[in-house]
């Protein structure tokens, strides 16, 4: 359960409205790596965390903080949009380049849809969607995703920081930059903790025994004259298992040449008959097996053997 307080976690006090900048700031609200994404990603991971105690608590602490970050940016947007052009301005624009730029670069949904407030969309107006978030139940894989999200998010914040010289906006973004720096480290330290606690060796390797050997330690190059062999990724030992990394030219490892089977004639696919008649989709295989199983099961049960 959640509770709310009126005070923001950190102040968001632009010195002056700026509709053009507000249009850009949408990326940090509702973009692929905006605050809505990390908020939802961490809450979801926390709620589903199967390890009670420090891991679950940590994830939910950060997820709860991020709700407050969405709140901060949405509030800042309303302030940036104060007095944004909402009227026809054709003649004024004709004589005023600054206004022309605002009219051209403004996000018009800020006026038409929200009446001077943020949208749950990115800087191009695309709605935030649940396909951005990651919560797999595997903490190593998820912490890797979280490090990446914080790194991308911080990079975007740094880029946006350059696009304003409003001291109030910059003050808030300085706070956000710091949190992103800290959070990157926190998720990396989380991985160290997972290793220390024996949950992983740092590489997601479920079903390790099932893997092919060669392709697990070989860099394949598909490019004539590639210099990729010069990098650490193509030489030295693997990070797990201590194998020597090989560098090879990529080539087919099989003689499988993409033939696809004859189509079911009822699907009206184009076909020349070269592979014989297609198998009609009557589920025959399943049917035969099902009938046999049914018979077996019924006999077993009726004779009391089951």
């Amino acid at each position: 359960m959640f509770r709310h307080s009126k005070e923001l976690q950190f102040e968001v006090r632009p010195e002056r409205p700026d509709a053009l900048f507000a249009a850009k700031l949408q990326e940090l609200v509702g973009g692929q790596f905006g605050e809505m994404t990390v908020m939802m990603q961490y809450l979801w991971q926390g709620w589903n965390c199967r390890v009670p105690g420090k891991y679950k608590d940590m994830i939910l602490d950060i997820g709860t903080e991020e709700i407050g970050h969405v709140e901060m940016l949405v509030t800042m947007m309303a302030r940036l949009l104060e007095g944004a052009p909402s009227e026809t301005q054709a003649q004024a624009a004709a004589a005023n380049p600054a206004l022309a730029a605002v009219l051209g670069g403004q996000n018009v949904q800020h006026a038409i849809v929200t009446g001077g407030a943020a949208m749950p969309t990115n800087s191009q107006g695309v709605p935030w969607n649940g396909g951005y978030i990651v919560a797999s139940g595997n903490l190593l894989a998820d912490f890797r995703s979280n490090v990446a999200a914080e790194a991308q998010s911080r990079l975007q914040t740094a880029r946006v920081f350059q696009m304003t010289d409003d001291p109030g906006v910059k003050e808030t973004l300085r706070f956000n930059l710091a949190r992103d720096t800290f959070h990157q480290q926190q998720w990396l330290l989380g991985i160290e903790q997972l290793i220390e606690d024996g949950f992983t060796d740092g590489i997601e390797d479920s079903l390790a025994d099932e893997e092919k050997t060669e392709p697990g330690r070989t860099f394949y190059s598909f490019h004539e004259g590639s210099t990729a062999h010069e990098g650490r990724w193509a030489q030295g030992t693997t990070m797990i298992g201590n194998h020597e990394i090989a560098f090879e030219e990529g080539r087919p490892l099989s003689d499988d040449v993409q033939e696809v089977p004859a189509p079911d004639p009822l699907l009206f696919a184009t076909y020349d008959g070269s592979k014989g008649p297609g198998k009609p989709g009557d589920g025959t295989g399943a049917m035969v097996q099902g009938a046999e199983n049914l018979l077996h099961k019924a006999k077993e049960k009726l004779t009391g053997e089951g």
Copy 2:
């Protein structure tokens, strides 16, 4: 420029068709972390890589390999869908549980839309979209995203591996598991190489000097009784800068209480007048500044001072 050869990189030979499994396999083709994602993500990063030589070549080598992985899975899908039910089967299903399951769990677009072939969608039928990929131009941030993508992708492959006992399918997935294990390490080694080459210290910290100090080294907890302080992320030193991590109760760091300004009256927002009249959106600020600048610029130019 690209060239193609008929042989697949690795064989994809299911022993028997299985429409139910094909529906699940769509996740590895067109899901958030399916082969279409890594193919597009790496090609895009490679094309835009600003460091010629080993980095650019390496990224494009892997991107090119991944086109072949989409090809492998799409071919496997056509084989798994041979003879999938395409006809009315109401009566047959009534007596046959196996067929009933197939009819219930089948992806009907496999019959209606593609005529027995893969879709560019995930396991729930949602089309793959460009919002899944990441290519920021910052290799540290992107390699972090690539590690995460390989970890999630490998985890999903391991889960799907359990859902079949077709030896041919398993053989292919064993190859894919190995590549995902190797690729995770490769991107992590790429980060080591970036550090060695002096491009980064491992944490994305552009504009590091602008950051606030405190929030860059403090874990805030927003949860009574949180045990998050027990983890490495809330104690010890930071990974960069060698600062001591603090653990504090989350609290508002400002007295900013979410007031939003009076709305432009032309936007018809609900407002009680308590903050005075709203600023009409006539772009006045921009206007005044623009006119002044225009005058200044014109004078400068006309008098040859500019």
Copy 3:
């Protein structure tokens, strides 16, 4: 079945082209509450209406009118886009702020994709989608949605009205404003009629007897110092049942603390074993029950008892 006539329901005669305004007008064509939404929403509700006669006829009358409203706005767009910039204009823009604004704020798909015509998208270029509409089969719930759609749509129309001073455009929007005013009332009167005809008491309360009592009449506050208790929603009697509304601080009404069960080991979720071994996902419960039922049913049938 539908028939068409060449005359528009109301005239759409802009005095002059205006590509910037056309970009904004897209919101009223293909936005969340644009004409495509109400057209589709009402047609869908009408086709599925289970009460023949005045309700079904009324809904389909309005749905049919709305096809004509899409037609009006699409026609107006083609006229507004006459002579919109379709050529390179770099040098011209350099000396002309008005043209600069048009080039900056124009929807470039109007030139590239449609050749000077409307798109089925909103003002930010996001395609209209079926997720906007509502047709539940429950007329009370749907009429509530329809009132809301008309109110939002009218508000957006009023905002857009301010963004032009073309008398021809304004003339058309005056007609649309009037229809939205009337349609709001019409759906509200529809609710009155539903009450009068005995279909509802105005609150959607299917399965009313199953509801918990307390949470059905209590305002919970999750905010220290909230003044929400001052409103009518937190005092007086409920609208149905004549109960006294209570105002309480929000608190957990249970001791359920978010524990989630041990994961299936085949899913490779991170887990510390603290809740014992996970239940492997073999559908055991279903299996056992299924076999028993199968036996019972077969016996019943074979012995003629069923």
Copy 4:
């Protein structure tokens, strides 16, 4: 800023896992009217509310409660998915209808993507998106949308309630039904309060003076033999202004016949020349006007008249 507590607002204790039901429950989590929608909608409206005090506080109280409702359902999903089939089950399904149904109707992302947990998607796997929510800044229009959301949401909850007979699930849904009943009334009482406080007369009628008269009080019928005239919406007085509602056959109110202008020749649209040459898209109108304004402005400024 937000804080979290471990206890759920209300208990979510299914008696037994049920993967089939979990697939359906997704609609109430991430569907058009699921808990994610109302949570985001109310938080957004609250943050942007221009009337401080009871309105803003009330909206944020409910928004905060709804975060906890998402939390409840996500937790319930993890419990419902305990031991959901994650392995190949072909032979077992062949003999077991119950298992066949589970395999057929299960949401396979629950196993492949989340490892036994909820997705931020609807019951068909479509990701939640920001296009579902409404926050216009106009409280009347938004409260209308909120009543509708609660009515639709309650209706869906009632339908889902019938699809399980797990007493634990039903207990939670009884709580949710009650909240939806209360919340419908609360938003309706909010409208009464808005009227009492003088913010509206209950119909969104910004720019009322600009409206056309006739279309604001007339029901147009587009259907031969329509019985729509029998309803209250087509007779009696309007809800505002006390006018008599008219019922008329829908007919074109203008002689405007859908002609669209000659296309810009550079757009390569198909055109027969019947309306003369198209206007090339060189922004001439804007250009001329812009140049004149520029001249005027510059003169004004240089002569100190501006």
Copy 5:
């Protein structure tokens, strides 16, 4: 403007309800090539048609017919969904494969969201969206798209036809098959008419004079051992211009090797400095040119030369 009549264009009388088939039929309602697509595509093309008379009338005639086809299928869906399972059926399913299949394969939104009616989505639940339609203003390009839409739509109808043996459903689909056969020809005849009327030579070749010569008549092969040279597309004469088609191995036609320029340092892209310092994004080029033009224009105007 449109009018409606109660009678359907053609009857839609399923003999019995069939929820499984209804789930599949969604593809023909709201899929990429469903009735919503052709309805919207033709109406949009018709409204924007720049050639008054027979072309515009023809397109609008068919668009109007297609509204009625959506109506037919939506009505059929409501009938197919009569008595679809809306209750918990766990035990019943355990003994009944037919019911198990229905429960597994049913579109649960048909019960939860619409109350027994069609959704505006495809067979996998993905909402119809405006990105499916095409209306370019160029009749040749659009008629090509229309032929394709009818061919795909007819193929899907034929596939779906096989999935039912309800005589009533088949009767309706027989009508739809016939219309799709006719409409394919109609759009092809439309192209013949365009050629006869002198609007095109059948190939979209705007700006034909600007084209490169060689690449306009050469088949490039990127595949060792490709047999593509055997087809008509790689030999004989071109369809326009009467050139000989060449068949060549695909090779780079330039020495351009994918170098991308040094990045703006403010974007924090990874860069090794090998191409010198990046150009900071201050719009210098535009600035210089703009200032010059401004000066020139102002002088021109002030001296009355412009």
Copy 6:
């Protein structure tokens, strides 16, 4: 399997950066008919082609070429975005119309998200998605779609060609125009080859015998005064079967008047009881039939008759 070479298929050398043009060029990269679409569409069709030899090879040749076209445009974008504005420019814009236009019309994701590179989105920022492509397995239907894609794509390229006067950009687009001209013909020649090889008569007519006769040769008009009868589509003989085309006024061909059945009472749809009680959704029909079949099947098997 694929291989890559560093050289581009054709040069992409803009003479100077142009951020405004880059925003438009996105349509040709990630739009409905951009290079990503044709690349994915042809690869998918090729992988699934059931006719080995010249057809499959030809489709894959072109698909492989198109990967290189995406590569060309993405590389061009990075060059066009060199030095695009990434900093705050408010004051500069105030005096400079050219810069104002760039700031207003720039795609801000080019700076914030990619650091000066292309996005996998269209010109309005909407992500490319798999719903754009077509691969049905039926070569006639797919070649029709391919002709349409090339025609639309070429038309858009011609429109974009007018929007720049950079000789380097034009040089590349001249190559692309030529390829689109050739590819249109190639797919049309592919249809001729399909006819010659006996796979089709040029009209998709699977299940031709099932079609209704009349609707297969009649143009229905739904528009008073329609002149559609003047076109070839409404007179003369059909393209297959040599029937005379009829022209008729559209009218209902049945007396089916849109009644929908009584709703399941558990769905809480609004209903007046006029059609008797609704059928509760217990799957009765399926149940009865299922039990009978089960009995029959079991008997058959137990007695060895099956």
